[in-house]
Amino acid sequence: MRFYSILYRTPDDEAERRSADAAPEYFVDLALDQIVTGITAGREAYRLEADFQLPLSDPDAILYRQEVVRELQRDGVYDAVTSFADAMVAMRERLAARDAAHYRYQRDRWFLEAILTYVRAVRGLTAELGATEPRSRGISGLLAYLGRLTSSDAFMSLAAGAEDLRTAIDEIVYDVLIQGNTVKVRTYAGEADYSAQVLATFEKFETSAPKDYRAKFRDHATMNHVEAQILDAVARLHPDTFARLHDFCQERRDFLDDRIAAFDREAQFYLATLERVRVLERDTGLRFSLPELAPSWGGTFAETMFDAALAIKVRDEHPVVANDVRLDGDERLIVVTGPNQGGKTTFARAFGQLHYLAALGLPVPAAAARVHPFDGLYTHFEREEHVEDLRGKLHEELVRVHDLVERATNDSLVIMNEAFSSTTASDALLLSREVLRRIDARGTLGLVVTFLDELASLHERTVSMVGTVDPEDPAVRTFRIVRRPADGRAYAIAIARKYGLTRDALSERLPA
């Protein structure tokens, strides 16, 4: 199969990316926008957002990327690709210098330098990758492409032409005589280095630590008009070389190979992620890993799963708590209950992120995991609009939920967080039961965060998970979510007592 890209096996795979113009609806709910921003920070020029916004559902397409990730985790490969990326940055700097320059001979020279940097980068990548003997389809495909490219006539003549020109320019030495405000330029005629002679004369008075009176000169990116006139004169002294330079630059305007340019961009998809993963692992002590892919929801699990967006935000200031989750047999619904601010929503987000990042073919925030690729991900998180009309709010919520239920399939994942909170508990219970039954009928995987303990024992395929508190002080949350029947509301009383808000305490505090 001819190499196409390290992100997509075929142009068809990529077509969807080109058509998507916005992030999926659930991006903000699951804090995926923060993760993507965290990953791409500093690399905005590569325009990777669109690639991060397209989850893959074909297991082989996911595997294709996982292979590349594993490949890049080998030292030699990682170094080769990052060196190449750095060289491409240097090439773009030279192109930018060319754009900023006014004088023709300056522009041509910068363009030549850009070409030389490009040639060096491509040759370097070919050699270094070749030495690592890549195994992934993506990288070995790339290497084959590089081999063909570097041995092509077009590339070789580009390289040879550029190198010849550079040699010719390097050989130019010219004389400049400054007489008052006149400048005379002529070919160098072999005069001796005068500074060396002066130094030799006064050597006999040398002491050990002389003061340095030399001025430091900054190199200017742009040329002033005096230098430009000198350069003009030099060009007239060497008309052939400068004409050849100009022609070469004109001919080779499109020297940059499309596939290579694309690779430079796509490599950053992986490099940025791996770099961010390394930092998060170092800061939190938690691990990322490439998940196994399962053919169905059965056997889904994650070990020490955590919210990557939270980890990025808090860095090493607070410890980030990780939790385990698993689905045995035909379990298809996870109901998470427990105290407020106890980490339930974070847990739900982590579960969503786990699946989404897996669908990008990237490492997921868990030490080990097995996931089933989804064909659709639907979230329903409480929106913050302060609608005064509670009835209107409930209506709007029901419409959204209905839409969600209609679209879900048995390969879909639904995550709901505190649904129907704008109505009475009994209404909420009724509505929730209904919705969850429908979802269950479709075989969709659901994770529901709720204050309705009853849902935790809805049917045999329900997994109850509870946010725990510190047994010594119920006001302290551990942020650990464990598999357990729902608690009821025992914890609420203890907290109330602590703040003097139990009936007895309040009676004493308030005057009769």
């Binding site: 400048v183 005068y194 006064f202």
Partner: protein, 526 residues
């Protein structure tokens, strides 16, 4: 090029800091009189001789090296003076050209450096002339070496080369550079090229037909253009301006070192002159290694004292070979302290490579000279004085090593004689065991007597001699210590009999009653 007039191996460092106790030694020995006589108001000489005294030489060869140079200087004072003036004025003149050179453009640095170098070239020529005139009259290794080096290094060829460079470095024909094309084809690797080549040179080739030359001129109002041109010029002359400025620094360093070392000899010549004018004897002392324990003088005197008074001082002879302890006792104002000072000054002057204040002198070098003199201003202070003495002593002990010389003048007298003697005994005997040589002027009779009774052949006891008439002679003689208070005589006077007379029963102790009235049976003057 090095000066090496004061030391065979290295130039004298006039900026090194003085040792911690130097002020004490200067005050105790009255050295300021000597420094002032040497300097004659010249601050440079004052600083140099102070450091020379402080940086005592302990190597016999090093001392002889300097003595030889000193002999030359004493024989040729005008030549030395002329050299000193030349070096001094050169250093002064350079200072006038220097203002904030470091912040200037290379072009400015170059122009100033050319001026200074031109001045230096003239002085180097003058230096060579003096060297040529006087080389035959000087015999010491130090001066011979210097004169020879000056003649060889600063020969006509070399001086002509300097002149040629100076002419070229004014760049009257313009600044010639070569360059290559750097990134973006901006000129880089500017190298200054030789303006006047043997075959024709840069300028000559301009006038002959040859390869094309393209030129352009910056218009008058183009300030940006002039700035660009200035920077180009600066880049071109950067290295050579630096080279010239550094060379100037080097030459200045040479003249400064020359000035400093000659300052020492100028000062010595002056001191010699002052003493000779009073017909006080001086001699080149014979330095010996520490281990030999030599110390003999003929007609040793205190030169600092001599500089203060109109008359001649009273000299003393001394034979203290093999003695590590000299104890001097006797009546006050008898010349004890003066002699102590004379010994200290003679030691320092010898270890400076100077002449000694004596008719003849042979002495071993010491590893450091320390003085612990009674402080005059402390005389009326009550509490803490003994503390102060001991604290000072302790500081000195920190620095002592075998071979050190310690001068004690009335030390430990701020407490009663018994205690003072005990402390003195302990300190002195311990230090002697550790190889320190001690000269002690003291009234602590108990101490002096007990040391004398050891009959140690390495101890020497001197005493102020009094003539029959009781007049002071300022002469010292070798003699055992005498008790200074004449208690026996007084007792005799009061009691009418000598103390300890066996025929008289010891008197009962005089008791008093509580109300102060004498007890019954108490004797009195009946």
């Amino acid at each position: 090029m090095n000066v090496l007039l004061m030391d065979r191996e290295r130039d004298f460092d006039a900026s090194r800091s003085l040792p911690w106790n130097f002020d004490d030694v200067v005050a105790d020995l009255g050295l300021s009189w000597i420094f002032d006589a040497m300097a004659g108001g010249d601050e440079v000489i004052d600083a140099v001789v102070r450091r020379a005294f402080a940086g005592s030489l302990t190597d016999v060869d090093a001392i002889l090296y300097r003595q030889a140079a000193l002999k030359d200087a004493l024989r040729n004072p005008e030549a030395v003076r002329a050299l000193y003036d030349l070096a001094s004025s050169t250093v002064e003149d350079e200072r006038r050209h220097y203002f904030g050179l470091l912040k200037d453009h290379p072009d400015t640095i170059l122009r100033r450096s050319v001026e200074v170098m031109a001045m230096f070239a003239e002085r180097l020529r003058a230096l060579r002339t003096i060297a040529e005139q006087h080389v035959t009259a000087f015999e010491s290794e130090a001066f011979d070496r210097l004169f020879l080096e000056v003649q060889t290094e600063l020969d006509d060829t070399y001086l002509a080369r300097i002149d040629a460079h100076l002419k070229d470095l004014r760049f009257r024909g313009g600044i010639p550079l070569s360059a290559r094309l750097g990134p973006g084809n901006v000129g880089s690797e500017y190298v200054l090229r030789e303006p006047n080549e043997p075959e024709g040179g840069f300028f000559k080739r301009l006038l002959t037909r040859g390869p094309a030359t393209f030129s352009f001129t910056i218009p008058e109002r183009d300030e940006g253009g002039f700035r660009a041109l200035d920077e180009l010029r600066d880049r071109g002359v950067n290295d050579v301006a630096n080279a010239l400025a550094q060379s100037n620094d080097h030459i200045l360093g040479f003249f400064r070192a020359l000035r400093d070392e000659l300052a020492f000899y100028v000062g010595a010549i002056r001191l010699h002159g002052r003493l000779a004018a009073k017909r006080e004897p001086t001699c080149m002392p014979s330095p010996r290694p520490t281990g030999e324990g030599r110390r003999t003088f003929q007609a040793l005197y205190d030169p600092a004292l001599s500089l203060q008074i109109a008359e001649r001082t009273v000299p003393n002879d001394l034979d203290a070979d093999g003695k590590d302890l000299i104890v001097t006792t006797g009546a006050n104002h008898g010349g004890k302290s003066t002699f102590l000072r004379a010994l200290g000054i003679a030691q320092l002057m010898t270890q400076c490579g100077l002449f000694a204040p004596a008719h003849a002198a042979t002495l071993s070098v010491s590893a450091g000279l320390y003085s612990h003199f009674k402080r005059e201003e402390d005389v009326n202070l009550e509490s803490g004085k003994f503390d102060e003495e001991l604290a000072r002593m302790s500081d000195i002990v920190e620095q002592l090593e075998p071979g050190s010389l310690l001068l004690l003048n009335e030390s430990f007298s701020s407490t009663n004689e018994r205690e003072g003697s005990e402390i003195a005994r302990q300190i002195v005997s311990t230090l002697l065991e550790r190889g320190v040589s001690i000269h002690f002027v003291t009234h602590l009779y108990d101490f002096a007597r007990s040391m004398h009774e050891t009959r140690d052949e390495h101890h020497l006891f001197l005493r102020v001699s009094r003539s029959e008439s009781g007049a002071r002679s300022f002469k010292l003689e070798v003699a055992a210590p005498l008790p200074t208070s004449f208690g026996e005589d007084l007792y005799q006077e009061v009691f009418g009999e000598a103390p300890g007379d066996p025929e008289v029963a010891p008197a009962a102790p005089m008791l008093g009653r509580e109300d102060g009235a004498p007890a019954e049976g108490a004797t009195g003057n009946d």
